[in-house]
């Protein structure tokens, strides 16, 4: 365990040194969040009755999404891993007395977390001070907050476990180009990163809510805004846990098979 912790630490520390990237990220997130809220405001004013969430719940959803983008963005990939597989630098990682799946999982968590730590506070603080209904609601009760934190942790795990599957697929395809693009688009849309899932038409919405992508940002953000509460929240969390375990198991199995037949590229 200690080896993975150290691995986490070195990646986390490295991530923290990129200040300029963080400042650029924060300003993007402000502008993006603001634009989204203005767009939804137009819809809301056109017909408040057809709006599936309360407007305050929606703005909280958007600001949290922007603050914790780095934890949940499904289009973020660790280029080093793709490169290591396709040019054979993975040789060195395979010469370590540690599990490759665990090392990559830790590394991905560390990169995302270091980005999130640098970016989340300015966005959260500013959003708290924005006037209602444009800002972020403070959490209602303790139970809701605990559920939200739990769900956020699981969502983070699901995102990383999902990207692990994509990394591992590159052992079989050599290039990650295609699968990266398709999985980014699918996951982005179905996890509620473009529009929250309640805005989707019936049928598609029920399907999307069951898929692993809904266990990403959709779950914690809707629990925070109170759109999912009580027993429904526990159900969502159970589903998240299921997908996390399922995807980790699938990833480890695939990794095991990939390493059996791996051809380390290059001399």
């Amino acid at each position: 365990m200690k080896q993975y912790l150290s691995f986490f630490r070195i990646r986390f520390q490295t991530g923290l040194q990129y200040r300029t990237a963080a400042i650029a990220g924060i300003s993007t997130q402000f502008v993006w969040g603001g634009m989204e809220i203005l767009m939804f405001k137009a819809f809301y004013e056109a017909s408040p009755g057809a709006f599936p969430m309360s407007f305050e719940a929606l703005t909280s959803y958007v600001w949290l999404q922007q603050a914790f983008l780095a934890l949940f963005m499904p289009w973020f990939w660790d280029a080093e891993i793709f490169k290591a597989i396709s040019d054979g630098n993975i040789s060195y990682e395979l010469c370590r007395p540690a599990g490759l799946y665990e090392m990559w999982f830790t590394k991905n968590m560390a990169i995302r977390l270091s980005k999130a730590v640098l970016r989340c506070f300015p966005v959260l603080i500013a959003a708290v001070f924005l006037p209602a209904p444009y800002g972020i609601m403070l959490p209602g009760d303790i139970q809701g907050t605990v559920l939200f934190l739990l769900s956020m942790l699981l969502a983070f795990g699901v995102v990383v476990a999902f990207s692990m599957l994509i990394y591992i697929s590159v052992f079989f395809t050599i290039s990650g180009q295609g699968i990266k693009m398709i999985s980014s688009c699918l996951a982005e849309f179905l996890s509620g990163a473009v529009i929250p899932l309640p805005f989707m038409p019936d049928g598609l919405r029920q399907l999307a809510e069951f898929l692993p992508f809904a266990s990403m940002q959709n779950a914690p953000l809707r629990i925070y805004s109170g759109d999912i509460a009580g027993a429904a929240a526990w159900q969502v969390i159970a589903l998240q846990l299921f997908w996390l375990v399922f995807m980790c198991a699938a990833g480890k199995l695939l990794m095991h098979r990939a390493l059996k037949q791996v051809v380390v590229q290059g001399g």
Binding site: I10, Q13, N89, S91, Y92, L94, P97, A98, G266, G267
Partner: protein, 265 residues
């Protein structure tokens, strides 16, 4: 102790001729060519021996190293290193070996070298005292004192290679694989690396397997030479026996070139 028996590994590559029509044809029908990277290789290396593993590019040197270090699973054959099958017990096996791939880097390029060392300490679970002593020893022998606090990306190739070698030896492995460790190094760095490997072998009786195209490396370091070509082991003997093959005024480089021609490899 390393024993290798009848090791075979075949790679399948898709081939096609140049041009659009063959590109289109290959969409429907692929022609595969089988390349025997390792073809019935057998050898035994006792503890403490320094072996030079030579052969032209693509002969199977790296494939052998990859099998021995547990990265590549062979199709057929057996391999036992200190009682373990490398690809079956990879994690336990790699604790006992150190590997330097001359053309790759194991140091994290955007942090100081010392951070990479500390991380390797935790990955290999090296006790604090052992790590400190080992680090001091390596720092002295490889003259790393001034460069440990520099980040890897700012090092020259020679400096980096010295750090790479130190990184591979922090856990005091019994066996060291050096895959072209002097590639691209200047004369001073080459000599420093050779001197260090000799010292290491003398002091810890470390088994060293060295692949290189530099015959001076071979002459300076090894007492046994294995020549491989097209996946087959062609020669296996002592450095003296090998030198005896050379004609008058024939340098080792010329001898090797002549042998490559002779064996059509």
């Amino acid at each position: 102790m390393i024993t290798v028996e009848h090791l075979c590994k075949t790679f399948r590559t898709a081939n096609r001729s140049a041009g659009l029509s063959s590109a289109l044809k290959s969409l429907f029908h692929r022609e595969y060519k089988e390349i025997k990277a390792l073809d019935d290789i057998s050898f035994t290396i006792p503890d403490g021996e320094m072996v030079g593993y030579i052969g032209p590019n693509g002969a199977g040197k790296s494939s052998t190293i990859k099998v021995l270090s547990g990265i590549l699973t062979p199709d057929k054959g057996e391999c036992l290193i200190n009682g373990r099958v490398p690809w079956k017990e990879r994690r336990e096996h790699v604790r006992d070996i150190g590997v330097v791939f001359g053309q790759r880097s194991q140091l994290w390029w955007d942090v100081p070298v010392i951070d990479s060392f500390e991380l390797l300490k935790d990955i290999y679970k090296i006790p604090q005292n052992a790590y400190r002593d080992r680090k001091e020893e390596l720092t002295e022998l490889l003259k790393l004192g001034d460069i440990l606090r520099t980040s890897t990306r700012q090092l020259s190739l020679g400096q980096r290679m010295r750090c790479e070698i130190a990184a591979s030896l922090l856990h005091n492995p019994k066996i060291l694989f050096l895959d072209e460790p002097t590639i691209g190094l200047d004369a001073v760095s080459k000599i420093a690396v050779r001197g260090f490997v000799q010292e290491l072998n003398k002091k810890y009786n470390t088994t060293v397997i060295l692949t290189t195209h530099d015959m001076q490396d071979i002459e300076a370091l090894t007492n046994r030479i294995m020549l491989i070509g097209k996946g087959r082991l062609l020669l296996d003997g002592s450095l003296e026996e090998f030198k005896a093959l050379a004609g008058e005024n024939e340098s080792l480089d010329e001898l090797v070139a002549r042998l490559y021609c002779q064996y059509h490899i």
